[in-house]
Symmetry: C2
Subunit: 176 residues, 2 copies
DNA sequence: TCACGCATGTAATCCGTTACATGATTCC
DNA sequence: GGAATCATGTAACGGATTACATGCGTGA
């Protein structure tokens, strides 16, 4: 059900088309919730049926019409109720750890290579996060409340990726 | 597809019934891959069709028969091939972060409560991990290769949960 | 006697992924 | 001329979740 909430969360900040949403789910929000454009389009029609979003069709010259969705009062009320419910921890699903669990099946060097490959990916994401931190949240004291909440989600990603790098190094050391 | 690999990983260590597997996916392996008993039973029949597991029916008195599955040579070969492929980063899906992203919709105290509730859950899991670390991996230098790999997956969980606690505290402070 | 553990499954529904499909405009 | 961007969708398939279903044994 959380895809609906993720979409409503984006629409809380500003009205969007399905296409705009898909792009957001490929950056910012996508850092903690991902969804393909097909999922988004399907979910938007459901949200419209439930009157949680409003739709305004914008005719454009030379490009396809745009369906601009905005959150309704009912949608915002639903979000308020949902936010205050306690959240269970999200289930972990990490195939690298399955591989490590039976790492003895292959030569150690293969596992070392996997760890390095994984480390590089985490490093890349961390670099992206750091760039965003510098560019948009340079002075955390001066942020609006909205921006501060968004900054906290970014900080979560930074903690997460930093932890991964530390673990990759520890694991790599302990195998050599 | 990784559920099949997760099951084969467990069976690499020892032969199990569907029921045994379900229990493992509720502890050890479940720390990084979760699956319900329905998924497991369905997947086991598929794995048998593909000759990746063997089945031995064990008749028991006074309890239901047990179907004991073990990995075949083909299954082990498949795992070896799979392990060395590079792994993409698993997609993140965390509804707490969606909530924080639009935290301004509710009073700050509600968000503080969410953070505390989340923190408590992460602390509990970390405590579980620490107990396992003490009981099974007290002397990391002396571990067999199998055990060392399993220990690394546990260390990953410890890094992960420690990071979460740090972030919860940082977030909580920054809001007060 | 009632709940829990052992042990297995089916059915319905929903969610996610992949592939296919269209069509104009802008930039290289 | 060809690729990328804007903008929307359908169809098929497979994976995951939830609910339903059975039945014996053991211990409180």
């Amino acid at each position: 059900m959380a895809l609906a909430h993720a979409i409503l969360a984006v629409l809380t900040n500003r009205a969007c088309s399905g296409y705009d949403l898909a792009k957001q789910f490929d950056g910012s929000v996508g850092f903690f919730w991902n969804a393909s454009h097909q999922q988004i389009y399907r979910e938007l029609t459901k949200l419209e049926d439930r009157r949680l979003v409003d739709l305004e069709v914008i005719c454009q010259v030379g490009r396809p019409d745009k369906k601009l969705y905005s959150i309704t009062d009912a949608g915002e009320a639903l979000m308020r109720e949902w936010i205050v419910q306690p959240s269970p921890l999200p289930p972990v699903k990490d195939e690298l750890l399955i591989k490590l669990f039976v790492g003895q099946l292959v030569p150690k060097s293969e596992i070392q290579a996997l760890l390095q490959q994984q480390r590089a990916q985490h490093e890349e994401i961390l670099a992206t996060y750091r760039t965003i931190e510098r560019e948009y949240f340079g002075n955390p004291e001066a942020l609006s409340l909205e921006a501060r909440y968004q900054y906290l989600t970014l900080r979560n990603g930074i903690h997460f990726e930093t932890g991964w790098l530390a673990w990759c190094d520890e694991a790599s050391d302990s195998l050599s």
